[in-house]
Structure formats: structure tokens, C-alpha cells
């Protein structure tokens, strides 16, 4: 548990279990939260080979580990996924899934029925190249983090181009392979400027407001930030992907908390272990936080060796009950924390 003067951040529980199909995730990269605690978890799956395509899907479940179902599959036909990158829900419950290989946005009904798709490859206005994230602004327009075009673009829900900003570079307002973005309640836009190791903030119109983060693994430093979220109190939650952690910045810019991952076994995982008692017994007797032999990228190696740690956090989401959802992509789960004021 981490406490600041005004807020406390504590681990709550883990949702998920490694599963190619059905109740579980396989390389989840993003989620979006619907009404009633519903989570739509987007699974990127494995390599794009025959037999692995069906791993790519949306798993629908709840924050308290209820399993509702799944929809979607890999492929290049309408509504299918190749490199699904992000999922977002509009005010009418429709779900939007971006794909950074097929260069498009698929639109689905709340039940996963394919409705339409839009997107055109290229680097001209309104064209996209590896859309890394999509997020709805308060006015209902859709913002797209256009990864390989190093810019942010705004569209209507039907894909009509409304404008955009940014270019390749490291100056204020420029980007290097941006990953996720987030809007606050006023429509200000925050971007995880991934290969520049920083977060940038913009007005709703795209005017540069500020930036923070420098390269490194010290407190407040960033290494390839992947995602971020902003709460109503002004706290900013950054998935510090290359450092395998989440840093929480207070409204004054100070680091309020650093989360490294505290995962426990979900009820789905417990069901598996109960069905495999010899594995369960050996697991109970094992030291699941062994000393790791570091060699190069010690944060990643530690995450690969210590199961509870984040490994490849690719998305941070918040609900209106103070819960923080962190998609733990290489561990096939979502770790949930709780903020208490």
C-alpha cells in the first residue's frame, strides 16, 4: 500500500487466467469499461500463424470475475482482427476496435455484432499508419493515436476526419511513435509519447500545454510509457512499460505512488489449480519471488521471474469507483488497485 498526503493506493485483486479461448486472456493489450462493472478485454493473441488466429478476441467479463462471454476472431475479413491495438466504447454502447496491421477501426454492437469499419492507410490527413489507441473525447469525437505517423487525429464515430496535430520529433508537440492517449473531463488530451520517454498534455484543440518525464528508471523518470489515465482529482496514472511499473503523479507533479505489481491468483486461476492438486501443492511450496539473476534489462527479467510483477503493462483504465485497472499483457491478466482519498 502506498500513501500520499491525500490519497492511498492499494492492491485489490486480479482478474484473468491464461486461456486461448473462453474464460481467460492471451496477451491482452487493452480494455474498456462498460456499465455495471463490465470489462471488455482485447486479446492480441500469439504469432499470426494458422491455428493461433482464433486467440485474437474480446473477452467480456466483470471486475468481480464474472465471465460473460467472448466474441471476435483473427483474420482479415470484415470485423476480424490481425493486430488489434485498442478498444473503446461510445455513449450508445457501441464498441470500437483499432487494428494496427489492417489499419482500420472496426465498430461492433454491445453484443459484438459487426456494424462497420473505416480507415485508410497512408500518411495524408485522415489516413492512418498503425493506429495505436483510440479514445472518446467528452464531445463524442474519437481521438486516434496514429503511431507510425507520429500524430494525433480526430474523427467522427463514422471515420470522418476532423483534424489533427503532431509530427515526428522530440520538440514540444511532436511525437515519436505515440502509444495510448487519454482525455480528462474537460477534453484535454494526454499522450504517452512512447519513444520520447515522456507524457505530453494538450488542450482539446491540440495546443501544447506541458510535458513531463525524462528517460530513465528513477522516480518520476520514464522508459517507453505505453498508457495513461487521468482522474477527476488530477492524478495521472502512467504505465511505465519499459520499467515494468505504473507511476502515479499527483496534481502537483510529484510522484504519489509507484506500483510494481502485486498479482494474486484470480478465482479462475484457483479453479485451475484446484483441478490440478499436484501442481497446486508444488506451487504453494515454491518461492514465487525468487532472487533474479539480472543480466541486461533487469526490470524485464525481474518481471519474467517474479510472477506477481507487472510484465508489459500496456493499458491503465479508471472507473468511477476509484479502481485502477492495469492490463498486464505478458501475464494475461488485469491487476486492479484501489484509490482511497
Amino acid at each position: 500500500m502506498t500513501t500520499t498526503a491525500t490519497a492511498t493506493f492499494s492492491y485489490s485483486h486480479t482478474v484473468g487466467f491464461l486461456a486461448y479461448r473462453g474464460r481467460g486472456f492471451i496477451h491482452p493489450v487493452d480494455l474498456t469499461l462498460g456499465d455495471g462493472g463490465v470489462m471488455y478485454v482485447l486479446n492480441r493473441g500469439g504469432a499470426e500463424s494458422v491455428g493461433r488466429l482464433e486467440l485474437k478476441r474480446v473477452c467480456v467479463c466483470t471486475a468481480d470475475e464474472g465471465y460473460i462471454g467472448e466474441w471476435g476472431t483473427g483474420g482479415t475479413e470484415d470485423g476480424q482482427f490481425w493486430w488489434p491495438s485498442a478498444i473503446a466504447q461510445d455513449g450508445d454502447g457501441r464498441l470500437y476496435v483499432s487494428d494496427e496491421s489492417l489499419q482500420r477501426v472496426n465498430v461492433f454492437s454491445p453484443d459484438g455484432e459487426f456494424i462497420r469499419q473505416w480507415g485508410e492507410t497512408g500518411d495524408g490527413p485522415g489516413q492512418i499508419n498503425r493506429p495505436a489507441d483510440i479514445a472518446f473525447a467528452p464531445d463524442g469525437t474519437l481521438l486516434v493515436s496514429d503511431g507510425m505517423n507520429h500524430r494525433i487525429q480526430r474523427f467522427t464515430v463514422d471515420g470522418e476526419y476532423l483534424g489533427g496535430w503532431g509530427s515526428y520529433g522530440a520538440q514540444a508537440g511532436q511525437f515519436n511513435t505515440p502509444w495510448r492517449l487519454a482525455c480528462d473531463a474537460r477534453g484535454n488530451v494526454f499522450v504517452a509519447d512512447w519513444r520520447n520517454d515522456r507524457v505530453q498534455a494538450f488542450t482539446p484543440e491540440g495546443r501544447f500545454v506541458g510535458q513531463w518525464g525524462v528517460s530513465g528508471d528513477g522516480k518520476g523518470q520514464l522508459n517507453r510509457p505505453s498508457s495513461l489515465a487521468v482522474d477527476d482529482d488530477g492524478y495521472i496514472y502512467v504505465a511505465d512499460w519499459g520499467n515494468e511499473r505504473v507511476q502515479i503523479f499527483a496534481p502537483d507533479g510529484e510522484v504519489a505512488a509507484i506500483l510494481l505489481g502485486d498479482a494474486t491468483t484470480s478465482s479462475w486461476a484457483e479453479d485451475y489449480l484446484a483441478a490440478n492438486p499436484d501442481e497446486q501443492r508444488a506451487r504453494r511450496e515454491a518461492d514465487l519471488a525468487p532472487a533474479v539473476n539480472p543480466w541486461r534489462d533487469h526490470h524485464r527479467e525481474t518481471s519474467a521471474g517474479v510472477e506477481a510483477r507487472f510484465w508489459g503493462p500496456t493499458a491503465v483504465n479508471l472507473d468511477d469507483e476509484g479502481r485502477i485497472y492495469i492490463v498486464d499483457s505478458c501475464r494475461h491478466r488485469v491487476q486492479i488497485y484501489r484509490k482511497s482519498s
Binding site: 487466467f17 496477451h27 492480441r44 504469432a47 518461492d287 539473476n293 505478458c330 501475464r331
Partner: protein, 483 residues
């Protein structure tokens, strides 16, 4: 097509470049993966010996600069949970590393210390082992053996986790001597038992849990967990042992030090390096020179490699284009030449599958003896695979490497007759020696085209397609299948 014969190109070898370029191309093919023409030019400009020294010090160049991009776009290559994802990751390294000899050494040691996914069910553990080869592969052989003995994948692969003070398991001790250092006939059964006892206590954490997971291929609940080396002193047999004439409470480190001092080790490792880097056909005199260097430098692999690259036997025309490229060399090298996969593309797994289909499942060798190399890479079926895969890589005129070749061809003239066109294409690919038979085939391909013209807007696209057709026939040639 036949790949046999010694020398492979026979007396009809046609030289298309000066000796310095031919020698540089030979060095870069052996120390790396199919150099581009620009890389050959740079090596010529730098000088042969300076190039050798640069290759031998990979640490002076940056590590893989797209590592972060690979992990981002291929989340499966971040977790390295699946075998095919891990194979794709290695293909990226072969194609994009600025440290070609580091990658080649990793492939060499992977073939010699062959550790397979099939038993481990843990791809990242094998990838981690190849990283160990990258870090130590040009270092002292004693250090390599220490790292190998500490390597969790090896400990699992050859059952050293089951090698206990009170119940030794000889598997690792035996292969350490037989396959990894000295070769059969240079030690006794008693030496095997002593070596095994010396390595008792060299194990991994959570042995039972990890063994259960591996045996049932369980990646539940949350994916693979990296194995960690652990030395358990309380499980180590520290009593007196006699190993190769040395007696004392020998440890694993002591055994390795004794192994490295053996002339048999020097000869065995020299022979393996010679076979991989020089020729499929053993040359005892050359191997002896390399073994002497091994002994003189106390097993310094970098020094042995330097001696080899600078030797007359390495420069000998008879060994040039005398080795069959392994599938990983062929596929990775052709992708390098074509300039494909310089940034993450999902098709990387197709390249890895091509290598598999040709008989080399990297990270999953067939046995602890590794792969049978040389002519055994070639049979009727996989020769077709080799030609098709290489041809497919050269098909796209937009690929930066193919583009560079086309632009270089154009510098030879705006209008090229069949023979000059064939020569220009070979030159632009860094293929400076071909048989007259191959040359005749290339000229025959171009004969119906007559003059290929780059000087008119309405013929450029067609001319570039002609070049690509020529490149595809060149990569199907006997010479291209060899290194």
C-alpha cells in the same frame, strides 16, 4: 542442381571483382549473414584486418536498436512464451543486428550446446541461453562453460537439477565431456562420474514446481516463469574426486579449468569452429593451427577466431563458396539483403516457419548433438523450399535492399545487354564469383529481353522487374545457396 564437388565452382570460376572485394565478401558471409554491397565496400575501404577486429568486438556497436519496437508490436515476442514467437525474435536479430558475428557465434554455440524447446516447454529459457552466447561467445572458453553450466535451460535439458550429492545424475557431466568440450575417447567413465559429482548442487529454484509445469507443458495460470540458477552448497558433493588425473575436492569450476587445459579440448573446439566457419571438409593442419592458438591463449575464442580469419586456409579459394548455408543463414541473410523486416511486421513468423520447413528449427534442435550440417541441409524437398523462400524475399522492388541493388545496377549503364545485366546484378548483390554454368543461365534468362533500358520513363518499371527476375534466379543459383 548439384552442390557437391571440390572446389565447388571448379576451374570455370568467373571473377567479377578485385581480390580485396572477393576476400571481404567471403569474410562477411562467414562472419555474418549475407552482406550487402555497401557493407562489402565499407569493409574494403576499412581494410581486411581492421574489419576482422571490428567483427570480433561486437560490444563496440549498439545492440539491437529495434528491440523496443519488436516487444511493443509483437507482444508475444515480449513474453517469448510461444516457440514460433521466439524463433521470429531470433530472425529479427539475424536481420537487424549490427553485430553480425555476435549473432553468428550465438548460432554456432546453439548448434554445439544444442538445447531444445521440446523437452523444456519454455522458449524464453532457450532464448536466454542464446543471450548468454551473445554475451560470452567470443570470450574465454572456460567462462563459456561456466555460464553454460549455470544456464537454467541447460540444467533442465540435461537433468542437472536431478544431480544430487547423494544420488548423482551423470547426464550433464557426460555430455559436457563428450559433446561440449573434448569428444569421445579422451576421458574415462570414471571421469564422467567425477565430473557429475563436481556439478552436484548446480540447480534452479523451485525445482519441483518448475518440473511439473515443464512435464505437462503448463503455462497456467499466468505464463512461463523464468528459471533462476541456484547453487545449493548443502547438495554439493565436496568430497575428494579424481578427474583427468587431478585429485581433490573438485568443484564444477575446477572441472572446467581442467577441461580447458586439455589438448583434446583445444582440438575439439577448433574442429567445430573450423567446420562452422571455414569448411564442411576437415583440414587437420588448419584445425591444428587453431588448436595451437586455443592452447596459447588459454582458450580465448576471440583469439582463435582472429587467427582463423587471418589465416591462409581461410582465404583459400577452395573454401570460398564451399559451405552450404544453414536455413537460418539463408533465410535471414536473404531478408537482410532484401531489406525486409527492418521494423516489426507480422510476416516475421513466416520467415521463421521457412527456416523450420528447411530442416532447422532454431531453439528446438533435434537432439543434443544439434543439426547435421553441410550437404545434409540439402535434399530435393527443402532445396525447393530454399529457392522459393529466397526468391520471394527478392520479389518486391520497393524493399530497401532490393531498391539499393536496382539503383546500383543502374550505375552500370542506362542500357544493359544480357551479359552486362547479369554481371551488374551479381556485382550489386556482392556475388563476385560464379561458375560459367550459372553465368550462362543468367544470360539465357535475359536473352529474350534484349537490351534492358533504364533511360526511358516508359521502360524503367519493366527494366526494374527484369532486374528482380534476375535477382530471383541468382538466389536460386548454386553459388547463392553456398557461403
Amino acid at each position: 542442381m548439384t552442390l557437391t564437388g571440390n572446389p565447388p565452382l571448379g576451374a570455370a570460376r568467373i571473377a567479377l571483382a578485385d581480390n580485396a572485394s572477393i576476400r571481404a565478401a567471403h569474410l562477411l558471409r562467414r562472419a555474418g549473414f549475407t552482406p550487402t554491397r555497401a557493407e562489402i565496400d565499407r569493409a574494403v575501404e576499412r581494410g581486411y584486418e581492421a574489419t576482422v577486429d571490428e567483427l570480433l568486438h561486437p560490444e563496440a556497436r549498439p545492440d539491437l536498436e529495434i528491440e523496443d519496437l519488436i516487444r511493443r508490436y509483437h507482444v508475444d515476442q515480449n513474453s517469448l512464451m510461444l516457440l514460433e514467437s521466439s524463433q521470429g525474435y531470433w530472425m529479427y536479430r539475424i536481420i537487424n543486428s549490427q553485430r553480425p558475428l555476435e549473432e553468428k557465434m550465438a548460432l554456432f554455440w546453439h548448434g554445439l550446446f544444442a538445447t531444445a524447446y521440446g523437452k523444456l516447454n519454455h522458449a524464453k529459457a532457450v532464448v536466454n541461453q542464446t543471450h548468454t552466447f551473445r554475451r560470452h561467445g567470443l570470450g574465454k572458453f572456460a567462462d563459456i562453460l561456466v555460464e553454460l553450466s549455470r544456464d537454467p535451460a541447460m540444467i533442465f535439458w540435461l537433468d542437472n537439477k536431478d544431480n544430487h550429492r547423494d544420488s548423482p545424475n551423470e547426464n550433464y557431466g557426460r555430455e559436457l565431456l563428450e559433446l561440449f568440450s573434448m569428444g569421445i575417447g579422451n576421458y574415462t567413465e570414471a571421469d564422467v562420474k567425477a565430473a557429475a559429482r563436481a556439478f552436484t548442487g548446480w540447480t534452479i529454484d523451485n525445482t519441483e514446481y518448475m518440473s511439473i509445469r515443464a512435464s505437462r507443458d503448463s503455462f497456467w495460470p499466468y505464463g512461463r516463469i523464468d528459471w533462476q540458477f541456484r547453487y545449493r552448497e548443502d547438495d554439493h558433493d565436496d568430497t575428494e574426486k579424481t578427474f583427468l588425473g587431478h585429485t581433490g575436492p573438485l568443484s564444477g569450476h575446477d572441472v572446467i579449468d581442467i577441461i580447458v587445459q586439455q589438448p583434446a579440448t583445444a582440438h575439439y573446439i577448433a574442429g567445430k569452429l573450423y567446420n562452422f566457419f571455414v569448411s564442411d571438409r576437415p583440414d587437420e593442419e588448419a584445425i591444428g593451427i587453431m588448436a595451437d592458438e586455443f592452447i596459447r591463449t588459454d582458450g580465448d575464442i576471440r583469439a582463435v577466431m582472429r587467427r582463423m580469419f587471418l589465416s591462409d586456409f581461410f582465404a583459400d579459394e577452395a573454401v570460398r563458396l564451399g559451405r552450404v548455408k544453414s536455413p537460418a543463414e539463408l533465410v535471414g541473410g536473404t531478408a537482410r539483403l532484401a531489406g525486409s523486416h527492418q521494423s516489426p511486421e507480422w510476416t516475421i513468423s513466416n520467415l521463421a516457419m521457412d527456416v523450420n520447413f528447411m530442416g532447422q528449427e532454431i531453439l528446438n534442435p533435434p537432439t543434443v548433438e544439434g543439426w547435421h550440417t553441410g550437404m545434409e541441409w540439402i535434399d530435393t524437398g527443402n532445396l525447393v523450399e530454399r529457392i522459393n523462400a529466397a526468391g520471394a524475399e527478392m520479389r518486391d522492388t520497393a524493399r530497401p535492399g532490393v531498391r539499393a541493388i536496382i539503383e546500383r545496377v543502374k550505375t552500370r549503364g542506362n542500357r544493359l545487354e544480357p551479359r552486362p545485366l547479369a554481371e551488374a546484378c551479381l556485382d550489386a548483390m556482392g556475388m563476385f564469383e560464379v561458375s560459367d554454368g550459372t553465368m550462362n543461365s543468367l544470360v539465357a534468362l535475359a536473352a529474350p529481353w534484349g537490351e534492358v533500358r533504364f533511360d526511358r520513363d516508359d521502360t524503367v518499371a519493366c527494366a526494374e522487374e527484369r532486374v528482380v527476375e534476375m535477382l530471383q534466379l541468382i538466389v536460386a543459383s548454386r553459388e547463392y545457396q553456398l557461403a
